[in-house]
Symmetry: C2
Subunit: 253 residues, 2 copies
């Protein structure tokens, strides 16, 4: 059994992964976080690959990223990741982003559920494999993630700002709309000017799956933090409010 | 001066970079090719970073990829790349893709021009830096790239199949629509069924830049190879045919 809790995964900020301000796209950063999560889990026998053999899969429920400095083109960045807690139906995993000198430049929090692919039902994490995952819960003194937890959103006067169709490039290996693509579609709602000083905080909560061909409607409202809350609903019609797919929060610098 | 001509760059096929058939997205493969090209060029003093300091940049003109087997999820792939030829205004760079056993699974060809960022004019490659780039032209016996060169397209009865707006995530560090994004937008024109056996050949020719906010119209026609040719035009109106941005060819297995 692996005795360390926190592990570090390096990545390089590719020029083609940067926006017009030379900053790493938030969607690509999210992708790096998910890869680090999978590598950390795989080393402990809980990676997607091994789980798939047992008709199980991790489902990302929430991801929150808060940066003091978004990585820029050609930088070498490290992601530290660890398991914060395990509950019956959810586990939380945190991340720290470090620059080349090892200084923290941001943090992230994520919440995951385990799903049985056949029954489509969540699993009890605390009893699976004899509670093995509990061995990886990180001692408090190593769990350093000084950013707020996931927000709660109340959509009251959100305005429909865009409706899009989904296509081949939006779809992941499971045939669902890719979790990273939602991040891109959300950020595409904003004009160029918003991005000139980078994104301070980005949150997304995945509520329901959508499939290729689903039509996604984006509703936006200003929030009390100076940012915006966005709700994505699928297959909204004149007769129906459709179904909530994601909720997201963006705060710009 | 580096004496080797062909160099090899490995990459790992990330699950989040694969489509619903577990095959690597063609756009991500294109990105890996461009990264390998930049690393190979950088080692020889011709990388984008060094050129930018002299207000010069590489402009990708054409990219053609032909695969006998598209990389699949979790495979370790190598890209061999080398300079095939240098002409006054263009240089051609080839690529071979190798699986974990070192067997070729596909090839690619690319054509590049060098542009002065200030004057927006192309440079004479054969005289820049005393013709240094000519030192890297690969001897014929090492230039093994058994796929057809770039095709010529004649758009006669192409049908307008989609018009899209461009947003933040479409734009690269130079403020132009990202060359990889065009690949995604082209493939998004096709229904899921087309991809079930993978893509055999993909070509794209970059003709003119487009910027965020430009509206892109996609025209498609069947070609005599059993595939499709696509022309992307920007800012087409009732009064104007707009301007050609890209031309592309897709042949499915």
């Amino acid at each position: 059994m692996i005795k360390s809790y926190v592990e570090s995964y390096p990545f390089y900020v590719e020029p083609f992964h940067c926006d017009f301000t030379d900053r790493l796209f938030m969607g690509v950063l999210g992708n790096h976080l998910l890869n680090a999560a999978d590598k950390h889990a795989t080393r402990r026998g809980w990676g997607i690959g091994a789980l798939n053999d047992h008709q199980l899969t991790w489902v990302l429920s929430r991801l929150s990223i808060e940066m003091t400095s978004v990585p820029k083109r050609c930088q070498h960045i490290s992601i530290d990741t660890w398991v914060e807690s395990v509950m019956k139906l959810f586990t939380t995993r945190n991340f720290a982003l470090l620059d080349e000198q090892g200084n923290p430049i941001g943090y992230a929090r994520s919440v995951w559920a385990m799903m049985d692919v056949e029954t489509r039902k969540p699993c009890d994490l605390t009893t699976m494999y004899g509670g093995d995952i509990l061995n990886y819960v990180t001692p408090e003194e190593q769990n350093i993630c000084p950013i707020d937890g996931h927000g709660r959103y109340r959509f009251r006067d959100a305005e429909l700002v865009r409706t899009i169709d989904t296509y081949y490039s939006d779809v992941d290996i499971n045939g669902h709309i890719n979790s990273i693509r939602y991040i891109e579609h959300v950020l595409n709602l904003f004009p160029m000017d918003c991005f000139k000083d980078g994104i301070k905080r980005f949150e997304i909560a995945y509520k329901n799956e959508s499939l290729m061909g689903d039509r996604l409607s984006f509703y936006r409202q200003a929030n009390e933090l100076g940012g915006y809350d966005i709700e994505i609903r699928k297959n909204v019609t004149d007769e129906s409010n459709g179904e909530i797919v994601c909720q997201s929060r963006v705060i710009f610098n």
